[in-house]
């Protein structure tokens, strides 16, 4: 060593200072400000908080009479094997993937000004903006729609508009507005989300109505990979090209 008494160079003290300053935690989670943190992996369930079976569709939906007639005609000629959009690997779209009770988990990630929902089924991503914005004008309708949220007491209230119109499993028009209310509750199975979804679509329904479903947690539950087209990819690797024209 050329300068045994020299002590440490100034840079290393600066380095130490920088390390200490750099260590101060930066708050990047909204959990500090939000009344509830929904972050976690959730599984839809048909069992309500009291242990009783929950009917997501307890009664017939209030279709306008002409919609009811045309829907019946449509369904009479409908083949689930080929006509259901899920066979095409297309997304379920809102609100279908929030109402399904198929056993695929959903991950909620709550951060500052944003809540992100990752749905394993069809690998869908929802973005809920919590910064007070309104939906921009002139949006192209999408499967997930455009979601803005706010807190009402302990509940998260999300309004979604600009959803693609489609006919399955229920007809919906571009005028559909969904209002979701997420509430964290304690059920027999532990923490649950009670999700109420109010539908308003004056071109389809005679009045607004609300459906209710639940999500629960399981120890060790993880998000898996759902790539719908993997079956066709694998068939092709085996030398059997798909005959499905859209896949």
């Amino acid at each position: 060593m050329t300068s045994a008494k020299g002590g440490c160079p100034r840079r290393s003290y600066l380095h130490l200072l920088a390390t200490v300053l750099g260590c101060l935690p930066i708050s990047m989670s909204s959990a500090d400000d939000a009344p509830v943190d929904f972050t976690g992996i959730w599984m839809p369930t048909q069992i309500g908080p009291d242990g009783e079976r929950n009917e997501v569709f307890p009664e017939a939906l209030p279709f306008l009479p002409e919609v009811q007639t045309r829907n019946e005609e449509f369904l009479a000629d409908f083949k689930h094997e080929v006509d259901d959009s899920r066979r095409s690997c297309l997304p379920y779209g809102m609100p279908r993937q929030m109402l399904t009770v198929a056993q695929y988990p959903t991950e909620i990630i709550q951060t500052e000004d944003r809540i992100t929902i990752l749905v394993e089924l069809h690998n869908d991503v929802r973005r809920i903006y919590m910064d007070g914005r309104a939906p921009p004008d002139g949006l192209r309708p999408t499967w997930m729609g455009y979601s803005v949220g706010r807190w009402e007491g302990q509940s998260l209230v999300v309004t979604t508009t600009d959803i693609r119109e489609h006919g399955l499993p229920r007809p919906q028009s571009r005028e559909l507005t969904l209002q979701e209310r997420f509430t964290l509750i304690e059920g027999q199975a532990g923490p649950m989300i009670e999700l109420e979804i109010t539908h308003e679509d004056p071109r389809i329904y005679s009045r607004p109505f609300t459906l209710k479903t639940y999500y629960r947690q399981y120890e060790g539950l993880e998000m898996g990979e759902y790539f719908c087209n993997e079956d066709v990819w694998r068939l092709n690797l085996d030398g059997n090209p798909s005959e499905l024209p859209w896949r």
Binding site: M1, T2, S3, G6, G7, C8, P9, S12, Y13, H15, L16, T19, V20, G22, C23, L24, P25, I26, M28, S29, T39, S88, C89, L90, P91, I109, Q110, T111, R114, T116, L118, H122, N123, D124, V125, R127, T142, W143, M144, M223, E225, F227, C228, N229, E230, V232, W233, N236, L237, P245, W246, R247
Partner: protein, 252 residues
């Protein structure tokens, strides 16, 4: 003071710094917020080129047999897989959602979503290979160090079909850098896969902030494009058939 002496001081500083203890105690604490929407800065990086890599004979064989219409998952609206999703320089945005316990990277396009667990866990044993692999991250100062295992060999590293094995190991360093007066996200990738490469592959990617970029609805749009292409092809065939059948008004 020579280099070893300096190092001793740095090590001392790191060990004595109260922060060192905090970082160890709370591996979840992040010093940097990477969250936001980013697009690849394709103009600042170079792609992976087979000529620059130390290929094994197995890699040469795999490249010789590569047929993108069969072996490229993206031709089937399937994901890129890790690390191709991160290496890709096409102008598709990616979005980072950061929490102390998990950094989530959502890629536009085909549904790639990487979850980087920063809650102090280690890799589980006997992982089943997956498209995204299993990523564990730790903060080294202001750098997120990510180690990924178990990426399926069905994914490839590049459009040209550079192969990799299930036993490939990936180490990445994600951090913010200043580059020509721009604040960029830098990802350095080190790929170790002796089955196909005699030397580790070192790559670097840069991303620009793109707060106004809109993330598209990935695999659904890809499939919809294929459906529309099918409809167009069907229409063309109907048109040809009708013309051949003598519908003269179609011949004009």
């Amino acid at each position: 003071m020579n280099a070893p002496g300096r190092w001793r001081c740095y090590v001392l500083a790191a060990m004595l710094g109260p922060c060192g203890a905090i970082v160890v105690a709370q591996s979840a604490a992040a010093a940097v917020d990477l969250s936001g929407t980013w697009v690849p800065a394709a103009d600042l990086v170079s792609g992976l080129n087979a000529d620059d890599l130390q290929l094994t004979s197995a890699a040469v064989d795999a490249l010789g047999q590569f047929d993108s219409q069969t072996f490229d998952s993206t031709a089937f609206c399937m994901p890129y897989g890790t690390p191709r999703n991160t290496l890709a320089t096409a102008p598709h945005p990616l979005e980072i959602v950061q929490r102390p316990e998990q950094v989530t990277v959502i890629f536009d396009g085909l549904g790639d979503v990487r979850r980087i667990f920063t809650d102090g866990r280690s890799h589980p044993e006997d992982l089943i290979p997956s498209w995204m692999g299993y990523s564990v991250g730790t903060w080294d100062g202001e750098t997120l160090v990510v180690e990924t295992q178990a990426m399926t060999r069905e994914s490839i590293l590049s459009d040209a079909g550079l192969p990799h094995s299930d036993t490939m190991l990936l180490e990445e360093r994600w951090r913010l850098v200043e580059y020509n007066d721009e604040s960029l996200l830098q990802v350095e990738l080190s790929i170790v896969d002796p089955v196909y490469y005699r030397e580790p592959i070192e790559a670097m990617r840069l991303f620009r902030r793109a707060p106004h970029a809109t993330m598209s609805e990935g695999p659904g749009l890809c499939l919809l494009d294929r459906w529309n292409a099918h409809l167009e092809e069907t229409n063309r065939k109907l048109y040809r058939d009708a013309r051949e059948a003598g519908h003269e008004e179609l011949s004009r």
